[in-house]
């Protein structure tokens, strides 16, 4: 990938900055060849990726090096795009929003600084992946469990900072952050929460600190570079019970959401869980051409064949009960009482007891199998998910499903939809899978996405997280009082980062410069 300079920066200034970075991190960790730039592009770009091109990457190994890099970036007015591990697949991966930005790759900062078995707390650097942490817990036989997202290649802290999800009672990852260490754009170093005390004993134990809590200010933002994150881990339960529920008809999503919402609110089910359509299985274990080679979205008759082959419902949902033996058994009984009359058959729970292989339990085990889905359309695959937040209401979910499915049909994409039930909300994920080698299909995917953002905004649903290419559009949909939130964000941005060097444009946040 040829060099694209940051806007307003001359080639001479750029080279000077790279030399200064090399003095800080060593020449080996300034990655500025054409090949390097290519490696930081978005492999799943919705288009050719030319709208989000990095100019180089720099990979520090310490807080001091990050502080020095920020000083140099301020001096030369060069935008930086921090990534923890750069594996934010489907959201832009490591690529920057603003072309010409230098990726600040924190992948070398991969130390697990502390794990407290007794309190279930960890202190992690941003380069620690789910695989790293899982391996460490298992290797040292520490009875703490992870919650992992579908793509576990990425960073634990990075995922929590983007509000990623997993599927245990600790699945709302951002809510398990407890205390951050952050380098501000000025180079100043702060610790949030109780860590603001120099000799704090409880940085990872109490989230709020004294006075305003700033942790969430550094989530999905561009106000600082997080260098350490406190993170809560779940104590290994005594038992788990897993169950998969298949719903035969598309309209079943309505009653199911209503019943499950009550079970979730009353603590019978404690994890966020996904209720998704049959394409979730088909895309992992097969490719589209195994089923259908015709134009347009897969016809309903073919969908029926797929469901028959995979012995799955139109929708299916899997979830786990975690806890003491007596508690999970009692909760399973409640679930049976509520759901079996609606389903017309008995539910089969799969039990795990402490001491049995963890892979059979409801623990989060890191995996990359879900990346299979990008192969669905053939060629170089990509995916992008439109995920508006909704109230947990069956009637609304059914209406939303019908509307989104109609859009997928209209644009000729196979409907891949799911409803992830949070505590008091739904993330309605609409996943578009495309072949990047097919320019027309990719352009159509982009158009479908943009259309769904507008559709949802009209209905009062906004996205919880989005790909680089749609950040501005989604940010613009948060429009109360003439975009007052955007004004607040800009005020904070200008105060902390007057030169606008840190991740300009991330989540629609820009500084004046």
């Amino acid at each position: 990938m040829k060099l694209t300079l940051p806007s307003g920066v001359t080639a001479a200034t750029f080279s000077q900055a790279l030399r200064a970075f090399a003095e800080v991190v060593g020449q080996d960790w300034v990655l500025a060849t054409d090949e390097d730039r290519g490696t930081y592009m978005d492999a799943y770009a919705v288009g050719d990726g030319s709208d989000h091109v990095p100019s180089a990457a720099v990979a520090p190994q310490s807080v001091e090096e990050i502080q020095a890099i920020l000083r140099i970036a301020n001096e030369h007015k060069i935008p930086l795009w921090p990534v923890s591990r750069g594996k934010n697949l489907g959201y832009g991966e490591a690529a920057p929003l603003l072309s010409g930005s230098i990726v600040l790759d924190l992948g070398r900062m991969n130390r697990v600084l502390d794990i407290n078995e007794k309190t279930g707390t960890a202190l992690l650097e941003p380069g620690v992946s789910f695989f790293d942490l899982y391996g460490l817990l298992r290797q040292q036989n520490i009875p703490l469990w992870l919650s992992v997202p579908g793509n576990a290649w990425g960073s634990v802290i990075g995922n929590a900072l983007e509000r990623g999800l997993g599927y245990t009672p600790y699945g709302d990852h951002t809510s398990k952050l407890c205390g951050l260490e952050v380098v501000l754009p000025s180079g100043d170093l702060v610790r949030t929460g109780m860590g603001a005390m120099a000799n704090s004993t409880s940085w990872q134990n109490y989230q709020h600190g004294f006075g305003p809590g700033w942790d969430q200010m550094f989530v999905q933002s561009n106000f600082g570079v997080v260098t350490k994150g406190g993170f809560w881990l779940m104590p290994e339960p005594e038992a788990t019970l897993r169950v998969t529920i298949d719903l035969p008809q598309p309209d079943d999503i309505g009653w199911f959401i209503d019943e499950m919402t009550q079970l979730r609110l009353r603590g019978v089910i404690e994890q966020p869980f996904v209720c998704g359509n049959y394409l979730r299985q088909a895309t992992v274990f097969s490719e589209r051409e195994d089923w259908y080679r015709g134009p347009g979205a897969i016809p309903d008759a073919v969908g029926a064949q797929i469901r028959q082959q995979f012995k799955t419902g139109w929708w299916s949902a899997g979830f786990t009960l975690f806890g003491y033996e007596e508690v999970v058994q009692a909760n399973a009984k409640i679930i049976r009482r509520v759901l079996e009359p609606r389903l017309g058959h008995t539910l089969k729970f799969e039990a795990w007891h402490r001491g049995q292989p963890i892979e059979r339990s409801g623990a989060g085990v890191p995996d990359l199998l879900s990346l299979q889905i990008v192969n669905w359309r053939g060629g170089r695959g990509g995916h992008v998910g439109f995920s508006p937040v909704m109230p947990p209401d069956g009637k609304l979910a059914l209406a939303q499903f019908r509307k989104m499915k109609a859009r997928f049909d209209e644009f000729g994409f196979d409907y891949y939809g799911s409803f992830t039930l949070g505590h008091r909300h739904i993330n309605n994920v609409n996943l578009i899978i495309y072949d990047r080698d097919d320019a027309a299909m990719t352009a159509s995917a982009r158009k479908l996405f943009a259309t769904m953002v507008d559709d949802a905004a009209r209905d009062g649903y906004g996205e919880y997280r989005t790909h680089l290419s749609f950040m501005q559009q989604v940010a613009d949909s948060f429009d109360f009082n003439g975009h007052a939130l955007a004004r607040l964000n800009a005020t904070v941005k200008n105060a902390l980062d007057p030169n606008g060097i840190l991740a300009p444009g991330k989540n629609g946040i820009w500084s004046k410069s």
Binding site: Y40, K87, E93, F131, G150, E359, D367, N375
Partner: protein, 154 residues
């Protein structure tokens, strides 16, 4: 994804069988220290980044196979997502990279740094040039260095 997790138990067992074999080969070659490392990585589900040691330093002491397993194994082992894709697209005989004899250094370099199919490119932070050279050495090792494999398509 419930089904996927269920299969996981089986998958780990299969992998461990292969890894035991690799460790035995290393042992027979007199690389006792490497055996310990191979065991450590494989049975701890690998890729554990050591409490404070950068991986690149640790890698210098490891056999090429361990460097490959750490950096590529998550996707390119039995039942890995890369193995599944290759089986589907190129056939089962081309699915496991470790068994391939048709890979050349330039091709591997290109696949790693530019990405291939649905595999994203790997940066020099993911995998340094020195580590990539070790991966290439492993995947292009001569026939004499290849162990007789148990059939892997069971």
């Amino acid at each position: 994804m419930v089904e996927i997790l269920r299969k996981k138990g089986l998958f780990l067992k299969k992998r461990n069988k292969k890894l035991l074999l690799l460790a035995r080969i290393q042992f027979e070659m007199g690389h006792v220290r490497q055996v310990a490392k191979v065991f450590w990585f494989f049975f701890s589900k690998k890729n554990i980044l050591l409490l404070s040691l950068p991986l690149s330093l640790a890698a210098a002491d490891m056999p090429d196979v361990a460097v490959f397993e750490i950096h590529c194994g998550i996707c390119h082992e039995q039942m890995g997502t890369g193995t599944m894709t290759l089986a589907r697209r190129l056939g089962r005989d081309h699915a496991l990279l470790a068994d391939r004899t048709d890979l050349n250094p330039d091709y591997i370099h290109q696949a790693v740094r530019a990405g291939i199919g649905s595999m994203p490119p790997q940066t020099r932070v993911d995998l340094t040039d020195a580590e990539l050279a070790r991966v290439i050495a492993y995947l292009t090792r001569p026939a004499s260095a290849r162990a007789p494999h148990p059939p892997h398509h069971e």
